[in-house]
């Protein structure tokens, strides 16, 4: 039989006792030994010096004053901003906290935020969240044609820029990487491939602060036709550290072309108006990733595939998705969906106005 540590401490109190003020909230966790490794792996890609978050969590003195806020954010599921509910699908690069991690953080926040021994800290950067990107150099790096200026009196802006690629023949992209010029002000970006003479369709890739490149699975790629351009929609948002300051940014996009043959990735778009959307699949496909584009806060976004035999297969479930974080969720394993399946998108919100917004779900697939 095991006995928990907290119980051992409780047992020290004479029993029976009357109500204790503020309860036994002592913590056995210290910042350097227990908390910092979690912050490095789950939060550090944004919460570092100069990152998009307004405070670093990678140093004790910077972190402990935020203990109450950290506890509230973690308990309310607001942070880390990873909204996929693991009951509906398993995705790569999850920043979701485990039960033990939630408990360690909250217990430490409530239990006196002890620093502990700096010598217990993991090697610097050892646990920082994966920022996936190809190991080789990009084939092409395209900067924004002009520097974008976010004026001193504006806190937030959305900016659209067209990047001319200048290809003379069709290519397939195996990876695309958005590179923020001012990482502390660029919150997210959507990238569209726009064939010559066409209008932008569904985004080919997305990026949110803290992420690396979009690296598609081996043998899969996004088609970049000759003469096509890239459209980049960037969301800028200042932290209070930059309030009243002018921000200048010239972000860039790095392109990595496929070396050999690859199957082209297509985007299927399911629109949900009034809370429900249905899309019948015209062919067999292999589902690689999903990009929910939420236009207003929701309680739940649920995407399922109703297979021809009537079986319902959950694809993704997002709890409390936030429009500020348009993230692509990449499946750990591709899902094969047969022709005749019906993709069903169901949205839930206590706010009717939120449901009436034009929410969409982009499914990145290849023909099977």
């Amino acid at each position: 039989m095991k006995r928990s540590v907290i119980a051992a401490a409780l047992a020290l109190a004479a029993a029976p006792v009357t109500l204790e003020a503020h309860k036994p909230t002592k913590t056995r966790f210290t910042y350097h030994r227990d908390v910092l490794p979690i912050f490095e792996s789950r939060c550090g890609s944004c919460h570092h010096e100069g990152g998009v978050a307004p405070m670093s969590l990678l140093g004790y003195k910077q972190t402990f004053p935020w203990a109450v806020s950290i506890k509230n954010q973690v308990l309310s599921l607001s942070m880390p901003p990873w909204f996929a509910d693991e009951r509906y699908g398993v995705f790569r690069h999850s920043s979701a906290l485990t039960a033990t991690e939630v408990n360690t953080i909250v217990d430490w926040c409530l239990g006196g935020t002890p620093e502990g021994n700096p010598g217990d800290a993991p090697a610097r950067g050892a646990g920082v969240a994966s920022r996936e990107r190809p190991e080789d150099a990009p084939d092409m790096v395209l900067e924004l044609p002009e520097t974008f200026v976010l004026e001193a009196d504006r806190g937030e802006a959305r900016h659209e820029a067209r990047l001319e690629v200048g290809l003379r023949r069709d290519r397939l992209l195996r990876s695309i990487e958005f590179r923020p010029g001012r990482p502390n002000a660029v919150r997210s970006a959507l990238l569209f491939v726009v064939p010559k003479g066409s209008k932008p369709g569904a985004p080919a890739a997305s990026w949110v602060a803290g992420e690396g490149a979009e690296v598609w699975p081996e043998g899969r790629g996004v088609r970049l036709p000759a003469g096509a351009s890239l459209l980049v929609r960037i969301h800028y948002k200042k932290t209070w550290l930059d309030e009243g300051k002018e921000i200048r940014d010239r972000s860039a996009v790095a392109l990595y072309f496929s070396k050999g043959k690859a199957k082209p990735i297509e985007s299927l778009v399911v629109e949900a108006r009034g809370g429900v959307g249905v899309y019948p699949l015209p062919r067999d496909v292999e589902l690689l990733s999903l990009l929910p584009k939420v236009e207003a806060p929701l309680d739940l976004l649920l995407a399922e595939a109703v297979l021809p035999d009537g079986t319902t297969l959950p694809l993704i479930g997002l709890r409390g998705p936030d429009p500020a974080w348009p993230r692509t969720y990449r499946l750990e394993e591709p899902i094969l969906l047969p022709k005749g399946s019906r993709l069903r998108l169901t949205l839930t919100s206590t706010d009717e106005a939120s449901l009436s917004a034009a929410h969409t779900l982009v499914l990145n697939v290849v023909r099977d």
């Binding site: 119980a7 009357t18 003020a21 309860k23 909230t25 002592k26 693991e86 039960a99 409530l110 935020t113």
Partner: protein
């Protein structure tokens, strides 16, 4: 090892591990004395460097300023004594400004210092009048609701040392009936009565016609001028009597080896949370909630071998979050927040139960 709000179990441990007859030294904030640590550092609230202090437990009457070194009854009124954390220091009998951590001699007059104790904030949340004790969201004001006789509801107000405050400084009302519009998310009070200060200012009182037991009543108190009216939910199963104490045993938590048994223990704690919630014992909910949380953490080691690992992992995480919220909201006595947290707790419990084929 570090603590804040000075948990009693730790204080008892510190008191038991006395060095040279004196309680062990801890670190505490010179301003926020409830912030404590076993190592040097900075106050989590204000960033000031922590200073040394000694703490111990004395047993105090909830009503009379009498204390004993151990459990027992008050010599005046016979009430059970309650454990309360105190700081231990050495003072000069002649110079009150001389206060040292170690015994010795006064630096001003060379008289021998004598041992003394002083209270610490947030160490006594025991009701003084047999009622129900809550802390306000500002973490400074505290209050106790009592129902001493049919049709009479009273609120006693305290500071963070649980010292009485004059009720004349506060405004409030009690709400016996209200409606909630789910569309506008607004609550309308249908039946409310003012809380008026007693003549001597020792409490706020409202006359509650037809206030038959069990009585569910919400008090809305304004602590600061122009501040919000904070809500506190009370449930009285019987009349408050000043001799009544709140029994609350915190026992040893035994974590079974088998995951099915751990799951069953979680479900059992869930039942206790539900029962406490139903009878309005909000400030007791933390015990089964945090025990369930510890059990859930123990169960996490079995996730990979569970029938539906992803579902169980989600449930454990959800339960841990909900347990901490129940602990938090239980202090504040806000039923609406507690019910929302309990919904999450219950959903997670159901998922754990179904994982192991248990019925709730």
């Amino acid at each position: 090892m570090v603590t804040t709000w000075l948990p009693l179990g730790w204080i008892v441990a510190a008191a038991l591990s006395q060095v040279d007859g004196r309680p062990e030294l801890i670190w505490t904030c010179p301003v926020h004395r409830e912030e404590t640590s076993t190592v040097a550092g900075l106050c989590a609230r204000c960033g000031r460097p922590l200073v040394r202090a000694r703490v111990t437990v004395i047993w105090s009457c909830p009503l009379h300023a009498l204390s004993e070194p151990g459990p027992g009854k008050c010599r005046v009124c016979g009430r059970d004594l309650h454990p309360v954390s105190h700081e231990v220091f050495f003072v000069c009998p002649m110079h009150s400004e001389v206060r040292e951590l170690e015994p010795g001699f006064c630096r001003l007059c060379r008289m021998a210092l004598v041992s003394s104790t002083g209270p610490r904030p947030h160490q006594d949340h025991n009701p003084k009048h047999g009622g129900i004790f809550f802390m306000a969201p500002d973490a400074w004001h505290h209050l106790e609701g009592t129902y001493p006789e049919d049709g009479v509801f009273r609120v006693h107000l305290y500071d963070d040392f649980s010292q009485p405050l004059s009720a004349k400084a506060f405004k409030g009302r009690v709400v016996l009936n209200e409606s909630f519009d789910p569309v506008t998310r607004e609550t309308r009070e249908l039946l409310a009565y003012p809380l008026l200060p007693s003549r001597d200012g020792s409490y706020l009182e409202a006359r509650v016609p037809n206030g038959s037991l069990p009585l569910e009543i919400a008090a809305k108190i304004q602590f600061e001028k122009d501040g919000p009216f904070e809500r506190f939910d009370f449930v009285f199963a019987h009349l408050s009597t000043s001799s009544e104490t709140v029994p609350q045993t915190v026992g040893d938590l035994v974590v079974p080896e088998e995951p099915e048994a751990v799951a069953a223990a979680i479900i059992e704690r869930g039942g206790r949370v539900k029962s406490l919630l139903a009878r309005g014992a909000f400030n007791e909910i933390y015990v089964p909630a945090l025990e369930a949380k510890d059990l859930a953490l123990a169960l996490e080691a079995h996730v990979s071998s569970a029938p539906n690992p992803a579902s169980l992992a989600w449930a454990l995480k959800e339960l841990v979050r909900a347990a901490w919220l129940l602990d938090d909201y239980g202090d504040l006595g806000n039923k609406e927040q507690l019910l929302l947290a309990y919904d999450r707790f219950e959903e997670a419990s159901e998922r754990i139960a179904s994982t192991y084929g248990l019925t709730r």
